[in-house]
Structures are given as structure tokens and as C-alpha cells.
């Protein structure tokens, strides 16, 4: 008897831990594993290198920004496969408006550069428009989100190529390039995550998002305008992909139609590793941020150990599946345990 009650109290304590605790342990475990392997294989510290940590986060910031949007889509029970293509499209449009006119000034002395706000806003607008199309299709027709955003993925990539007939866009203005320089993407990533963490936890927007994902029909009965809300969520996801596109082109100081390839899958992986459930109703930005960092640790850890890039992908795939299995196991356990 005493045993039973002690067990129950322990179980209650475990349940009171935030759901991210488990995945945070995975992150720390991976980091420590690389630290250990670092000392054994290359006789260096993995973690005690500020430079490496900054680069690590920098590498995944763009994915992280997309993942913040995708997490919200996944919470509604949907999916967004178009993010990577939208990155390419916005990168092209924004870069085309951010081109420096210096070279042409010999011929047309009156030419001036557009203020940096123009390409940035245009990029965000293109992303928002793509999300609006996705959301409208999904909310007003019976098309599953997978199909609607698959179509958008192909189409947006197509428009990105058509825009310059496949030519890259280079010679961008310095102020534009500054957006992607240094730790600016990291700051933007963390700010975005914080913003939507607050939105999901403390606003009506967040409550409705979870409710729709948990039970769409019950949400409708409760008086939530489900269609309108879904459009808003997909538009936000699109806008964040647009932001990611602007950062990508600014950092590369060019726009290329091949940018953002497979970013959508990394973003979905980050969200899922972070505990978001594709069945809807479950997911948190904090988890997604940790999921993003796990992807970053794996990538930079393998590079650090000078292990072939091919292994990276193999391991990454395994981690994604393992995370979902662990998550389902945990959930089933909790359901039967109570």
C-alpha cells in the first residue's frame, strides 16, 4: 500500500514536469556524447567553443523560424510542405528588389537603391500570400493540407525559377546583406519563437489553435470560426517562411531558385522532435526550439568529429523516428497509467 502511494506521488511529480523535459534531456545527452567523443577522437572540447556554438545556432536559425510557423500548423492538425519553396520564392523576389544600382550608375546616374524596407516587406508579403492561398484552399475546400501544400510546394518553386528564368540574382545592397550578417538571424529566430510562444500560451489565438487541433467539430460547435482561423494560421506560417527567405538571401547576398530545398522537412522534424503531434492539438514552441537545436547539434557535432556528411543524414533520420516513437510510448503510458 505504502509502496503504491509513493509510486503514485512519484508519477504525479513526473507528470508535473513540463513535457519538454524529456526532449531537453535528449539535447543535453547528445551534446555530452559529442563532448565525450570530441575528447576521444579529436582531442577537443565540443561545447567549450563559443564560435562553434554560435555557428551551430546560426545554421539552424532559418529552419527554426520556419519550424515556429509549422508547429502552429501542426497543432491545428495540418501540415505545411511548401515552406522550402516559399523560402526560394521570397528570396528571389526580395533579392530582385534589393539589387544594388552602383554598377548601372555610370549609365543612369539618377538611379538610387531602394530603401531596405522595400525588399523585406515584399518578401514577407510574398510569404504571407503563399500562406493565404494554402489556408484558403484548406479551409474552404475539402483538400487535405498535405495535398494543398504539396501543390503549393511545386508551384512556388516553379514561380521562383520562372521569375528570372533560372538565373541567380546577385549584387545586393549592403544594408540588405547586413540583415543576414552576424548573429542577426539568431536574434530574429529567438524573437519569433518568443512572440509565438506567448501567442500560443496566453492569447485567444492560441486557445483557438489548440481547440481546432484537438477536435475541429467541437471547435465549430463552440462558436469558433474554424475556416477563418485556419487561414490565419497558414498565413502566419507562410509569412515566417517569407522571413526565412529574406534571411537566407541576405546571408548569401544573392537570390537563387534552389534555396530552401527540403527546409520544410527539417522544420517538420524539429516540430515533431519537440513533441508536436501530427494528429493535432499538441505542440509547443519551446519544444520546437529544442528540436531545432537538436538538429543543429547533430549537424555541427558530426562536422566537428569530421565524420562524413552522409552519416549525418542517416543519423538525423533515425533521431526523427526515435523521437516520435518515444513520444507515442510516453503518451500511451500516460493514458493507461492514470
Amino acid at each position: 500500500m505504502a509502496d503504491r502511494s509513493r509510486e503514485r506521488r512519484a508519477a504525479a511529480r513526473v507528470r508535473r514536469l513540463p513535457p519538454e523535459a524529456g526532449i531537453l534531456l535528449v539535447l543535453l545527452g547528445l551534446a555530452l556524447a559529442f563532448e565525450l567523443l570530441g575528447w576521444i577522437l579529436v582531442r577537443q572540447s565540443f561545447l567549450l567553443n563559443e564560435q562553434r556554438l554560435v555557428v551551430m545556432i546560426l545554421q539552424v536559425s532559418v529552419i527554426g523560424i520556419i519550424a515556429v510557423g509549422v508547429t502552429q500548423v501542426i497543432i491545428t492538425g495540418g501540415i505545411d510542405l511548401s515552406s522550402g519553396s516559399v523560402v526560394a520564392l521570397t528570396a528571389m523576389v526580395a533579392a530582385s528588389l534589393a539589387q544594388s544600382s552602383e554598377a548601372m550608375r555610370a549609365v543612369y546616374p539618377s538611379l538610387t537603391d531602394l530603401p531596405v524596407i522595400v525588399p523585406v516587406m515584399a518578401g514577407l508579403a510574398v510569404g504571407a500570400a503563399a500562406g493565404l492561398v494554402n489556408g484558403t484552399l484548406i479551409a474552404w475546400t475539402a483538400i487535405p493540407p498535405f495535398i494543398a501544400t504539396l501543390g503549393a510546394m511545386v508551384t512556388a518553386r516553379g514561380i521562383a525559377k520562372w521569375y528570372t528564368r533560372g538565373q541567380p540574382i546577385s549584387m545586393l545592397t549592403d544594408p540588405y546583406a547586413d540583415i543576414g550578417s552576424g548573429v542577426v538571424p539568431v536574434v530574429i529566430f529567438l524573437a519569433t519563437a518568443l512572440l509565438f510562444h506567448i501567442a500560443l500560451r496566453y492569447t485567444r489565438y492560441g486557445k483557438f489553435t489548440y481547440a481546432i487541433g484537438a477536435n475541429r467539430e467541437a471547435a465549430r460547435v463552440s462558436g469558433i470560426r474554424v475556416a477563418r482561423h485556419l487561414i490565419i494560421v497558414y498565413t502566419i506560417a507562410g509569412t515566417l517562411s517569407g522571413l526565412a527567405g529574406v534571411l537566407t538571401s541576405a546571408r548569401a547576398v544573392s537570390g537563387q531558385a534552389g534555396m530552401g530545398l527540403m527546409y520544410e522537412l527539417d522544420a517538420i522534424a524539429a516540430a515533431v522532435i519537440g513533441g508536436a503531434s501530427l494528429a493535432g492539438g499538441v505542440g509547443r514552441i519551446t519544444g520546437t526550439v529544442i528540436g531545432t537545436l537538436i538538429l543543429g547539434v547533430v549537424t555541427s557535432g558530426f562536422t566537428f568529429l569530421r565524420i562524413d556528411a552522409y552519416y549525418q543524414e542517416i543519423v538525423k533520420g533515425g533521431i526523427i523516428v526515435a523521437a516520435v516513437i518515444a513520444d507515442q510510448y510516453r503518451r500511451r503510458h500516460r493514458l493507461t497509467g492514470t
Partner: protein, 499 residues
């Protein structure tokens, strides 16, 4: 004649079955003779389906035995039942729309050639032979989705017969059929009888009983009330057997306080669901809606609330004609709706009690600049949980960890937070234990005493009779009568509901 010595096709001896908290069947004994139709009738929840599931091997009895032609039968699965020649035709057809008729019938048993590939010629020949036996003209090679409901039903019967079934169970086979299609089905059933097949026929419709049955058995509250030949029974006899004595535990009745009309329907209809519904609902009144499943009562509730907008007629809320084409339109005028299906359209699984409660008020209250005033909401939900006496460890407990009755209280509380003027309740106590049921009844009575108008749909006549001030009865999409509480009893309601 050896017929006298031949044992019955199926004998059910003292079957009992309990589900957690409910005795679904108690000590039921029945006989089905060769070449006869044995009809089962009873109110919703009388135990008909449970009994048939046992015969079809879907569930196992807690006590009692089945004897097939004199031999004891133990069924562990529907497949074993099929092997013994017992096939069930379900209320919802279990067919695959994108496969052909022949494939649907012979799935997993297709004739194959030497290479293991399906021999389509043989498959179609067998199918044609089977369908000829039923005297229906359906081509074996057409896709199922192109067929009418009646023809799909025939395919389902053909599939049942393809197992050389001697015993068919039909669970409300005519519920989706037109009268003419039903006639064709009856002709098929008569043919099957002539071939010696025994049929268990579950129905809600009294007319059919007398058209097709050789024997009628009535179930009530999981017990066998009686069996007789239709020649010895009148419709009134059957109704009386279905309804039985007045149940002792009828909930307390509240006096009417008819205030002004707050909700009215004039000639309201939804195409293919219900037609020409007209009624007034007063403040401080409970209007009970009775009717069998499929009578259109739930669709009526959905139309009044705006989930399935009406295609004909008019809704007036508080005297104004309102176009109720979305839940927002009715909610903004003070209407609340607790749906009949807690799991499908009520609870947000995985979310907390708090999140399940607050959702309906966040559109109007407790929000500033988009931010939820967490403290205020928590206080309001906390006092609601207290007032409804919801048994939960706390507001942060997940809804699925609560009992059915407590979940139902939370769903009621969700709407009470909006202080509704009109509350539509569809089966407010379905699947709720006795204690919680009484509490919910008291709660409804208290709301009405405070001037709320309630439209309450229920399959339980004691609930309808005990709570309602007036009772509207529906049958096959039409209102067949509105009775004053004093003039209503179970027999009158069943007469209007079952026709």
C-alpha cells in the same frame, strides 16, 4: 414427419451481458425456427443490438449459452459465426465503394487459377448465380459506389449468403430504404424463408413487424418481455410491451413558468432530413423532443443552432427573424448547444478541464487585446466546476480522465459560462451514471426556474416525461404531435414516434 423432432435452428438460453455500470442483457431466452423470421423490437437501448452482436460472434455473453440445431455453440469472432452459417447484415453497410460488386462479395475467397491470380470469369459467374437467387439485376463487374442504397443492401445480403448462411441477422435493414425498395427486400426475405433460412430481424418500425415477422419478441431494459405470433398481437399490445410499467425513478417535474416566446420555428426544414417543423419555445420552459433515432430530431437541433443551416422555413430568436447559417449567428443571440456525441463533437481530448470550459466564452469575455485574462477565466471556471459539482482533481486535469457524467457536466458548464437564454440539449444524460444523471436533471430544472428556455432531445421517455413541460414527437422527419405534459404518457409518445 420428422419436423417435430428437428431441433430449432438457434436457441438462446439465459443470455446475460453487462457493460461497465450497465446490465445490457439480463437472462434472455429466445428460439429461432428454420425458415422463419423472428423480429426483435424495443426502445433505443433495450438490448436488441447487444443480443444480435452475441449471435453474430461480435461479443461474448457473460452467462448463458447458444445452441445451433441442438449443439452448443461458442463463438469467439464474427468469422467463427460465419463458418457456422451465421451472418449479420449491419445497419451501416460494410462495403468497399471502389471495388466491384463481385470483389465485395468474395473478398479473401476469390477463385484463383494455377498461377494464384484471380479468375475473374469464375468470380463473376459465381456472383451472377448468387444474385439470381436473390432475383436482383446487378452486374457483378460494376463498382459498388454506382449502386443505389437498396442495391448495396442486396449486395450485402448476397455476401452473407455466399457463406452458405442458414441464419441471417438484419439490423434495421430498411432504415435507409424507400418503401418500394423495402418491398423488394421483403420479397427476398420471403424467398430465403422458403429455402429454409432463419432470419433475426431487428427493427423500430411496427408496420414492418406485421408485414414480415412470423414471431415477435419484445425487449425492454435488457430483458425479454415476451414472444408471440403477430396474429395474436395488436400494435397497441406491442407498444405496451415495449414501454412497460412507468419507471419508478422518473425525475422530479418542475412547474411551468411560461414566459415570452424566445425561439420559434416556422415550417423549418433541411432537405432530406426533416420538413415543416413549427413550434414555439418559451422562456422558463422545457420542450422535450422525442422520436426514434433517425427521426430527424438531432438534425433539427443542428439547424436551430446553425451547424446545418435550414433549407426551408424560418427561425425567430427573441421575436426577430434570424438567418441562422453559422453557430456564431445563434451563439451571439444567446443560444447554447450540447451535442449528443460527447467524444466526436463535444470534448477537446488532450486538453484540460479549464481549456474545455473556457473555449465558448473567449469569443466575448475574458480577453483584452487578444490576451486571455488567465486569472479571471480560472476563477470563473473554478466556480463553475464547483457549482456543477464536477469531480476532478483540478482544472488542469485532462478531460478524458473524467467520468462520462463529469465530462457531460463540463460540456454543460461550457455553455452556462455564456449565460445562455436558450439551451439546446441533445441526449443530455446519455452514457451517464445514475447519480450524475439526477444532478444534471436538477441542474436543468434550476436553469429553467431562472428563466432559461430549454429544448431537450432524449431517447429516454422517463427523462422526457419527467422534465418536459411540453413534448414534441417526431417521426421520419416530421412532427407527429406536440403534447402537453399532462396529456402525455409513454404509450402516446411511442404511438406518435413509431407509427
Amino acid at each position: 414427419m420428422t419436423g417435430e423432432l428437428r431441433p430449432d435452428l438457434l436457441e438462446l438460453r439465459n443470455l446475460s451481458k453487462a457493460f461497465p455500470g450497465v446490465a445490457a442483457l439480463t437472462d434472455v431466452s429466445l428460439r429461432l425456427r428454420h425458415g422463419t423470421v423472428h423480429a426483435l423490437i424495443g426502445e433505443n437501448g433495450a438490448g436488441k443490438s447487444t443480443l444480435m452482436k452475441i449471435v453474430a460472434g461480435v461479443s461474448t455473453p457473460d452467462a448463458g449459452e447458444l445452441r445451433l440445431e441442438g449443439r452448443t455453440l461458442r463463438l469467439g469472432s464474427p468469422r467463427e459465426a460465419l463458418e457456422h452459417g451465421i451472418a449479420m447484415i449491419h445497419q451501416e453497410l460494410n462495403l468497399m465503394p471502389f471495388m466491384t460488386v463481385a470483389e465485395n462479395i468474395w473478398i479473401r475467397r476469390e477463385p484463383v487459377n494455377a498461377l494464384g491470380l484471380i479468375n475473374h470469369r469464375e468470380l463473376h459467374r459465381r456472383t451472377r448465380a448468387l444474385l439470381e437467387r436473390l432475383a436482383v439485376e446487378i452486374a457483378p463487374e460494376v463498382e459498388l459506389r454506382t449502386l443505389s442504397i437498396a442495391h448495396r443492401q442486396m449486395v450485402e445480403i448476397a455476401r452473407a449468403l455466399s457463406y452458405d448462411s442458414r441464419l441471417l441477422i438484419m439490423d434495421e435493414p430498411t432504415s435507409a430504404l424507400t418503401e418500394r425498395d423495402a418491398e423488394q427486400l421483403f420479397a427476398v426475405i420471403r424467398d430465403l424463408k422458403a429455402q429454409g433460412t432463419g432470419v433475426f430481424y431487428v427493427t423500430h418500425r411496427l408496420d414492418e413487424l406485421f408485414a414480415i415477422a412470423d414471431e415477435i419478441s419484445v425487449l425492454r431494459d435488457g430483458r425479454h418481455v415476451g414472444t408471440d405470433s403477430p396474429r395474436n398481437l395488436s400494435r397497441d399490445d406491442v407498444i405496451r410491451m415495449m414501454v412497460g410499467r412507468e419507471l419508478a425513478a422518473a425525475p422530479a417535474h418542475t412547474p411551468a413558468q411560461a414566459g415570452p416566446v424566445v425561439l420559434s420555428a416556422r415550417g423549418l426544414g433541411v432537405a432530406d432530413e426533416f420538413h415543416d417543423v413549427t413550434f414555439d419555445l418559451h422562456a422558463g420552459e422545457i420542450l422535450g423532443v422525442a422520436g426514434l433515432v433517425g427521426s430527424g430530431r438531432s438534425k433539427l437541433a443542428e439547424a436551430l443552432f446553425g451547424l446545418t443551416p435550414a433549407t426551408a422555413g424560418e427561425i425567430r430568436i427573441g421575436g426577430d427573424a434570424v438567418r441562422v447559417d453559422s453557430p456564431q449567428a445563434s451563439i451571439s443571440r444567446g443560444v447554447g448547444f450540447v451535442t449528443e456525441d460527447r467524444t466526436e463533437t463535444g470534448c477537446f481530448r488532450g486538453l484540460s478541464v479549464l481549456e474545455n470550459l473556457e473555449i465558448s466564452v473567449l469569443s466575448r469575455d475574458f480577453v483584452r487585446w487578444g490576451f486571455v485574462r488567465a486569472g479571471a477565466v480560472r476563477a470563473a471556471c473554478g466556480s463553475m466546476v464547483g457549482a456543477l459539482r464536477v469531480k476532478t482533481p483540478g482544472l488542469d486535469e485532462r478531460i478524458e480522465n473524467l467520468s462520462g457524467g463529469n465530462q457531460q457536466k463540463v460540456l454543460l458548464g461550457r455553455w452556462l459560462l455564456t449565460a445562455p437564454k436558450i439551451l439546446i440539449l441533445d441526449e443530455p444524460t446519455r452514457g451517464v451514471d445514475v447519480g450524475a444523471k439526477a444532478e444534471i436533471h436538477q441542474l436543468i430544472a434550476r436553469l429553467v426556474a431562472d428563466g432559461t428556455a430549454v429544448l431537450m432531445i432524449s431517447s429516454e421517455l422517463p427523462e422526457i416525461l419527467g422534465l418536459s413541460h411540453r413534448i414534441m414527437v417526431m417521426h421520419e422527419g416530421r412532427v407527429t404531435g406536440i403534447l402537453a405534459r399532462e396529456a402525455a404518457d409513454q404509450v402516446k409518445i411511442m404511438e406518435l414516434a413509431a407509427r
